[in-house]
């Protein structure tokens, strides 16, 4: 699973629209992909052997969050959240619409302070049928305040 932003630089201004796309390893959708022959092109060689012990996708959570780092206890805030079921993901992959676009808020801005740092990221959390969880995140800057004043 991976996330990619469509812009060249990972820096945005408040009110901008953040556009990106996510992709999921095809073998995780294999049990569904095999039902549709036109999608077999996604399956890499040798991957079919792994299907003996299927570990397919149960769902995916995509969120746009800010979180704090530093001396204080971590705080987290969610600006955007969407949960996709396995069927949604299969449809998205089939239609090649694994894109997302989110309008960014006015605040809080990314900040590198002395006691606290405030960071933004796109986070994707993938749940598999075996109960495993894979989390990946892609940081980006919101605003231009990137250090303590």
């Amino acid at each position: 699973m991976s996330i990619r932003l469509l812009s060249l630089q990972p820096c945005f201004e408040p009110g901008d629209v953040l556009e990106g796309e996510y992709s999921i390893a095809p073998f995780l959708l294999l049990d569904r992909v095999q039902r549709s022959s036109n999608l077999l092109a996604y399956v890499p060689r040798g991957v079919a052997a792994k299907n003996n012990a299927p570990n397919s996708v149960q769902g995916l959570e995509l969120s746009l969050i800010w979180y704090t780092e530093g001396k204080g206890t971590e705080d987290i805030g969610v600006h955007y959240f969407e949960r996709f079921s396995a069927n949604d993901l299969y449809q998205n992959v089939a239609n090649r619409t694994c894109n997302f676009a989110v309008k960014l808020p006015l605040s809080p801005l990314s900040y590198e302070g002395y006691l606290m740092k405030l960071r933004w990221c796109v986070r994707a959390r993938l749940f598999t049928t075996k109960g495993n969880e894979v989390c990946t995140q892609l940081p980006f800057y919101l605003g231009q305040v990137t250090r303590e004043v």
Partner: protein, 327 residues
Amino acid sequence: MGEAIFFASLFLLGVMALTLVIAWQFVAPELQVYRIGLGFWLLVIAAVSFIFIGGTGFLLRVWQLWTSDEHRLALARKASSLDLAGRGKSNDRSDTPTIPDLANITDSPGVRLAYRLPSSQSAMAVMVIGSLFILSWNSMVAVFAGIAFTAHAQGHPRWFLTLSLIPFGTAGYFASRWFFRLFRQLTGVGATTVEINELPLYPSRTYEVCIVQQGHLVFKQVRVLLLCEEEATFHQGTDLRFERKIVYSQCILEQGRCRVEPGRPLELRAEFKVPGYAMHSFQSAHNAIHWKIVVEGDAKRWPSFCRNFPVIVYPAVRETPVLSNRA
């Protein structure tokens, strides 16, 4: 997982206890093991509370295990955005949820400029709590002193009580001295009001501020500062600790020796510019960034004082909406 097991066990214990207590009434009422009375109802209440606490705790822990942090926060955010009271969207802060509410500092109009800033009340809270402590402590010492004196007068001296009055009385003396010093500092130096021409503040913009100092005293020096302070709250063992760090300080105004008399308050005006790279005000559960105007004064024959007036800085935007223009 451990907590979930604990709450599940509590729930099962409650169910078993309740079943047992009620079942005895039907299975073998002649034995009267749990006769209906005070003990019976106490057992029922205890069992029901076990069921309620265990069941709620178990469901919450399971929910936490099955849902991610983001999912829970998104649900909480959705729930908080529901307008259950039907108050409309007069105070829509969806774009600035982490910036302190502006309404708290714009509800008081000024005389000279648009807004009069509220003073931070931390010193007053300390004084109220301190006064309660001093009263309680000194009352206790007075009662003990009375008992000890009576015992001495009756010819049965209580030496342990008498000797223990020495450290108790000393602590009471120093606490009272600290309290009256604080009281004198807060009430002796007259009221300070700070007015500002516009709120909220935006980076790179210039603002006018007016400071009015009441009282009857001679100042050696008065300084007005614009400060930005980071605040972090964290757990250290079982203690909850705070740490603050001033990350920006700008001297707005510095006034030398001056006299304040009743009916002729000291009035100072100044302009200041919020730095262009300023971080906006921020408040979350454990971290915060506060901006404030601080008035510091050194007065003759009075303890020096420092009074805080919080302001709110919004993030710079390309097209700044005019939220308030009452100046």
